[in-house]
């Protein structure tokens, strides 16, 4: 089971920025496979099919996805992929709009750090997904609903693992309630 | 010719003169000359009775484990910082290198914890503030930081005296990238002496070769030790030097004490003498050869040189 790559410890946020240890972008899995600290549990978890929107970069993640397809690997049907030229193209609005319009989870998948064909696109995406997660937490939504993974174009097993991982994570969360 | 040693920020105070066992026992003049120069150049310094031996000799002759040296170096650092003189100016290159290496090792948490466990018994602790304020300098580096003043203070012209440097291995080779100048062609000493009008030798064959002392080689393996020293004496003689200047008492002992022995055993002539850099600089600034430079402690007869630079008459004011 693979877990989302991007997570970070929750920084306390006093009104005025006190001198606190600068939060290092430590790639540490935040939740354990077993439990999910959901603030409140809604009636029954399995009410209806989840929907996950995945933004895959054309150079690496999308080609890994195609390779998984050609290998006839079975993947959870909850995930719907969208091709972008580079993960750097994905803005916070795209992720939040997808969640707002029906997705229970979104994730971005791009090239390995340092291998991005546009040099820094994946770094921008990593920071933006981190920003979206903190935005979700600030309004009480589980941050695990947004994630980012990096992989090489040839690393099909990693694409499959991240897809299944995200599906598992989201299926343990209730459907995302919308007002 | 423009000097090649890079400029450094002047050090005018907060200096603790780190006394050296070999200097105190073999050539006290080197220490006296250094103090005399510090006063002449306005460098405020103290000699701290709390400071102990650096144990470099013990460690390099494998008599004592490095842990001991590490703890003693940490204590010496605490003592210096406590005395408000964190700039430790080492007379001897071995002290310089061993204390600097200890400083590096003390950056490793577990070593520092171990040392602090020992220091706790004497109520001391080596913490970050000590680690960040203590500085390790060779005395020549402190003198060089005031080198602009030298030209005005010269009282005895050393014109025509040809000087070569024997670069101390522990200064040049232990931290090669932190040397004042080129670690493989050190000109610090000759640049200090340039205002006095000496003729510089610069680079010469086998300049970076060892002096032969090797701490215990001198006692355990004297034949090979003196053979290396003779090789160096031959090279210096070929350069027709008058004075070979040193930065470490170990080398001075090796050359000064064995110069005539090697001459007699290999019946060759090496017509030059050995001095610490500070001694020759002090002489050029008019210091008294006996009470300040301690020439009497040397095995070689330094009188001809002193006559030649007029060190025996009273120095003109």
């Amino acid at each position: 089971m693979n877990v989302p790559v991007v997570a970070e410890a929750e920084p306390t946020a006093p009104a005025v920025a006190a001198t606190e240890v600068r939060v290092a972008q430590v790639r540490v899995p935040e939740i354990s496979a077993a439990g999910v600290p959901v603030s409140e549990v809604i009636a029954d978890a399995a009410d209806g099919e989840r929907s996950i929107v995945a933004f895959l970069c054309r150079e690496c993640a999308y080609s890994a996805a195609d390779a998984a397809g050609n290998a006839r690997t079975s993947l959870p049907p909850t995930i719907r992929t969208i091709m972008v030229p580079c993960t750097g193209r994905v803005s916070p609005l795209h992720l939040l709009a997808a969640l707002a319009e029906g997705a229970d989870g979104v994730y971005v998948a791009g090239c390995l750090e340092g291998q991005c064909h546009h040099r820094v696109g994946n770094f921008h995406a990593l920071d933006r997904v981190a920003f979206v997660r903190r935005l979700l937490r600030s309004v009480g939504v589980e941050p695990e609903r947004a994630a980012m993974f990096t992989m090489s174009a040839a690393d099909t097993p990693r694409f499959v693992a991240t897809a299944r991982g995200m599906d598992a994570t989201i299926s343990q969360l209730p459907r995302l309630p919308r007002s | 010719m423009p000097h090649t040693t890079p400029e450094v920020d002047p050090i005018a105070g907060g200096v603790q003169l780190f006394r050296s066992c070999m200097v105190s026992s073999e050539y006290p003049g080197a220490e006296a000359a250094t103090k005399w120069l510090f006063e002449k150049l306005g460098v405020e310094y103290i000699v701290n009775p709390e400071q102990t031996c650096c144990t470099g000799m013990g460690y390099y002759t494998d008599l004592m484990p490095f842990a001991t040296t590490l703890a003693i170096a940490a204590r010496n650092a605490c003592v210096a910082v406590e005395a408000g003189h964190p700039v430790q100016a080492y007379l001897c290159s071995t002290c310089y290198a061993i204390n600097k290496k200890a400083h590096r090792v003390l950056e490793v948490p577990e070593h520092r914890r171990e040392v602090n466990r020992v220091l706790a018994e004497i109520g001391r602790v080596y913490d970050d503030t000590i680690a960040q304020t203590i500085q390790h300098r060779h005395v020549l580096e402190v003198l060089w930081s005031q080198h602009e003043k030298l030209a005005g203070l010269v009282r005895r012209r050393l014109g025509g005296i040809r000087v070569a440097t024997h670069p101390a291995c522990h200064y040049c080779k232990v931290f090669p990238d932190e040397v004042l100048g080129d670690s493989e062609n050190l000109m610090l000493a000759e640049d200090l002496l340039e205002p006095a009008g000496v003729t510089r030798t610069g680079d010469y064959p086998e300049k970076t070769t060892h002096c032969g002392a090797g701490f215990r080689q001198r006692f355990v393996n004297p034949a090979m030790s003196l053979a290396v020293t003779r090789e160096k004496l031959r090279r210096l003689a070929a350069e027709k030097v008058d004075v070979c200047v040193h930065m470490c008492p170990n080398c001075t002992v090796q050359f000064d004490r064995h110069h005539d022995i090697i001459e007699r055993t290999s019946d060759e002539e090496y017509p030059f003498v050995h001095l610490h850099v500070q001694q020759l600089v002090a002489l050029a600034l008019g210091a008294d050869p006996d009470t300040v430079c301690g020439v009497a402690a040397h095995s070689q007869d330094l009188e001809p040189l002193l006559q030649r630079i007029g060190a025996r008459q009273a120095a003109p004011l």
Binding site: P11, A13, L96, S138, V141, S179 | -
Partner: protein, 149 residues
Amino acid sequence: MPLSARGRQIAGDLRGATSGVSAGVLGCDVVRHDELCVGCGRCVSACPTGAMRQDDWFDPAQLFSAPAGTGRGALAAALRRIARHEPSGPFRVPDRVRTFRRILFSADLCAGCGACVRACPTGAVEASPVPVGDLEVAARGLAPAGVGT
């Protein structure tokens, strides 16, 4: 020096230019409208005294007050649909996220030159002239010597 009617009228609709009507009036007070701000940072680079500053924290509440039809408005709408409670306090923003950062304005550093107002493309900064003869001007030490004594 009291303002004439014309003087008051000119000073009234001055947007950021130093009113300079008379020695008594110096600069202007700056008023920020967070909801209009898009975080582009032009006011920060325009401000000569560093009164305008952008740090690496962001307050989501700013989003919710953004008008519809703007980039931040769309983001706020999407967030509001899935939010379970009002946004908690500001949080730290990763390095490469450039425009979602709060703007901090410190009045004591402000020289009232109005450069930020001219630089702001979305009207998120407004300048209102300091009332004439207000002792507070002298107190702030900004008035040139000899005025108000």
